[in-house]
């Protein structure tokens, strides 16, 4: 899992049938310093997250499919938590 920040959402009318009704978030992965890391990812929202939220992001098909709850589906990323705090030891 990665920690990321929700930076937006995507609207798509014409899409895979199993994605109908699910919210698609744009999530910017972050490093532990909170700086952007790589390209923003489109993820299924499993926890009703919104723009600005710091979230837990999975980038693995099986996990994303469990969030969707529809068996095999063409998804490879999901938001599975809203992060309250991260503590780091030095």
């Amino acid at each position: 899992m990665l920690i990321g920040r929700v930076v937006g959402n995507v609207v798509s009318t014409q899409k895979n049938v199993k994605l109908e009704g699910s919210k698609l978030l744009l999530v910017q992965p972050l490093d532990l310093a909170g700086e952007p890391r790589g390209t923003p990812v489109l993820a299924i929202d499993g926890v009703d997250a919104g723009p600005g939220d710091r979230v837990l992001l999975v980038q693995e098909g099986r996990a994303a499919q469990l969030v969707l709850g529809l068996g095999t589906a063409a998804v490879d990323a999901a938001v599975i938590g809203v992060v309250d705090a991260v503590e780091q030891s030095d």
Binding site: V11, S12, Q14, N16, L24, L26, T39, P40, G61, A74
Partner: protein, 88 residues
């Protein structure tokens, strides 16, 4: 999944039987500000996308799922055409 723009098509007469009848598109992954993110790749289309459209695609094993029960040997599939996205 990632955002991308369709930038071309691929024609392959000799190919794996599982790819027969599929549409192969060249896509350029995008950041939300529409700048390119990494090199282009070839993806199988599952939603009727065309050149210049903004789409999103899935990578890995899951890329073959839109075509079930057909077994399409692909590692990338376009699964949606983007109407728009909002940032901020």
């Amino acid at each position: 999944m990632f955002l991308a723009r369709v930038v071309g098509t691929v024609v392959a007469s000799r190919k794996d039987d599982g790819l027969v009848g599929t549409k192969l598109l060249v896509i350029q992954p995008l950041r939300p500000d529409r700048t390119a993110s990494g090199p282009p790749l070839v993806a199988v289309d599952s939603v009727g996308a065309g050149v210049s459209e903004e789409v999103f695609y899935v990578r890995g094993r899951e890329a073959s799922f839109p075509f079930l029960p057909a077994e399409v040997p692909t590692d990338a599939a376009i699964i949606g055409i983007v109407d728009h996205w909002n940032v901020g």
